[in-house]
Amino acid sequence: MASLVALAGAVGVLGCAKQQEGGGTAANGGPAIKIGVYGPFTGGSSPMGLSMRDGVRLAADEINARGGVLGRKIELVERDDQATNERGAQVMQDLISNQKVVAVLGPINTGVALASYMYPMAAKVPLLINVSAGAPVNELFKDNPDNYVFRIAASDNIQAEMIIAEAVDKHGFKKVAFLCDDTNYGQNGCKKMNAAIASRGSKPIYEGKFKIKDTDMTPQLQQARAAGAEALLVYGIGPELAQIANGMQKLGYKVPMIGSWTLSMSNFIDAAKENGNGAAMPQTFIQNGASSEKAKKFIADYQKKYSVDRIPSAVSAAQGYDSTYLIAAAIEQAGSTDGPKVKAALESLQKPYDGVIASFDKPYGATDHEAIHKDKVVMGVVMNGQVQPPSATGASAPSSPGSPAPAPKQ
């Protein structure tokens, strides 16, 4: 009897030791590698923040299950920046100074990125932006030759250009109205769209603003209509974009809506319902258009792990997932968690990474910290509660129901 108790005790101790190993320290390679993850886990941006975080978690769990990086486990240090700039700066300082993370993944919101990128830059810790489209990345080289900011997301430069190309070049609209939210994100997007349309010798016929949590878009839509806009080009996040779609339906104003990639957010699709049909946006990843084995496996794993059918923000989840693998690959190649070495490794990744979004072969260079270029982005269209791939461009994608090329008309 006594021996049985002793045995149980021994098993218990072993179990504990094993658990501790998984939670923080690995036996062979030393302490866990801490990677910071920050984004909005609450509020209107949360579908992006949570999907990004869940994508990162999925990748980290896979990497750890395979034995980690450099024989050490990855430990994620997650912080909610609540989509507010001040909070973003605070959590970044906490990650860098207190948590001593090796690299940081995130954030979602442009304002948060602007308020926080200088801390990792100063501390020489790589920041791999995996969602924010408006954050400066290559622009930072001018004042920071030793640039620690990288991105794996379609930048606003690419997105604004694609939005204008869709409206002006493809559909031939002469009169377009811009509606952008008054955050750093929306205003930056508006500026980029202005530049893109100016390069075609044109300009928007009306430019309106709205605020986060605005629920009534009547004045903006009336002005766009009065100006005779043939299409609305929008930059904002899900809930307010849905209010625009719903407001158009209320006013009986039917023009195509083309805008930032955030038109693919679940809270836009759910809140706008049929009013959102036809809304078009640039996408790096479309759940319904996944064609590669890797992407299909990622979606299946995500659905299984988080018990959801539709990923709230598939773009964020996929970019979160790929960003984790890229940073892990850089640490592996550097053979160290030292910031400058990891940065150098990111800039010259030897092994191609077959990712969820695309295959990345040397995604970064010493002067180019953008992994996503125009060839990796397509226009998606909202149709009946889902983002559908454009059958015209996505030849390998499964065809969307209905007509072959859903034009962004209501």
Binding site: T215, T218, L251, A271
Partner: protein, 292 residues
């Protein structure tokens, strides 16, 4: 012309939402000289409770309104007991301000735990197709908001002026020591005012959610605007908050339409500052003389 009427209608609908919340502020202010700074969170809890009752439990919109009123009433009692009564006993102003703000934060975090952080659509009880009156289009929900908000405010005003209970409230507002001497149960009257005010806030949540989406942060901005409305209209006047609500609602829409969408909120808050400078008790407020 049609555009103008359309704009006025949307301004009125917006204004009535603000007025309804501001009305809640005025009810508690008139009995206890306190305001519930968690009003926006009560609105949000009402909306999310309603959402659960309506969508998850399939009990329909009327039950959602009833459930919201119920949860609002309970929250009112809790708030009065926990945050207001101890503060009134010690005579501290700071205490009730902080305590109600704190309860609001607790309520928001609790809602995030229970319902998640995302904004969800709330199915409209009436058709979501707009009604057409010539070139003018109105959503049935907007009419419902204007109608029900008006009815609630009229009902409470009649109650306040005609019934014996209402007179008790007025008496407590005028002088609570004298009211107590006359046999009015002052604490019960104050509790009742919080019950009514919180229930109104929660019901407004269910009313506005089909237009605004329901989520843990839905009440924050609305309650700030409503506070401005209450100050502009006069915290002690039922009519005042309606006028204040409409004034700010229309101001926002007209500024956005004819001046700039970027300055939408500015005139409302300039008005607030002007009122505070010129007539601190609000447009319809009576100046209260504080005896020492």
């Amino acid at each position: 012309m049609a555009d103008l009427i359309q704009l006025i209608l949307s301004g009125v609908a917006l204004g009535m939402i603000y007025a309804l919340l501001a009305f809640g502020y005025s009810i508690t202010f008139s009995t206890s000289r306190t305001i519930n700074f968690a009003q926006g969170e009560f609105l949000m809890l009402g909306a999310l409770t309603g959402l659960t009752v309506d969508v998850r439990l399939h009990l329909g919109y009327v039950m959602a309104v009833a459930a919201a009123a119920g949860i609002g009433a309970v929250l009112g009692v809790v708030l009065e007991r926990v945050a207001i009564r101890p503060a009134l006993r010690t005579g501290s102003t700071v205490a009730w301000v902080l305590a109600t703000v704190a309860l609001g934060i607790v309520a928001r975090n609790a809602a995030e735990r229970i319902w998640g952080t995302d904004d969800s659509p709330f199915p409209a009880p009436l058709s979501s197709e707009p009604m057409r009156l010539g070139p003018i289009r109105v959503l049935p929900q907007e009419v419902l908001i204007i109608g029900i908000a008006g009815l609630i405010m009229i009902a409470v005003e009649i109650f306040r002026r005609r019934s014996i209970w209402g007179k008790a409230v007025t008496a407590v507002a005028a002088d609570n020591e004298a009211a107590a001497l006359a046999g009015i149960n002052v604490p019960v009257t104050i509790t009742a005012s919080f019950v009514i005010s919180s229930a109104i806030a929660a019901v407004s949540g269910v009313l506005v959610a089909p237009l605004t989406l329901a989520g843990p942060t839905m009440g924050t901005l609305l309650s700030t605007k409503a506070y401005a409305v209450a100050i502009v209209g006069g915290l002690q006047s039922g009519i005042g908050v309606i006028v204040g609500g409409l004034l700010i609602g229309l101001c926002e829409q007209f500024t956005a339409r004819y001046i700039s969408t970027g300055y939408k909120d500015t005139p409302g808050f300039i008005l607030l500052i002007l009122i505070l400078l010129i007539k601190p008790a609000g447009i319809f407020g009576k100046r209260s003389i504080k005896k020492v």
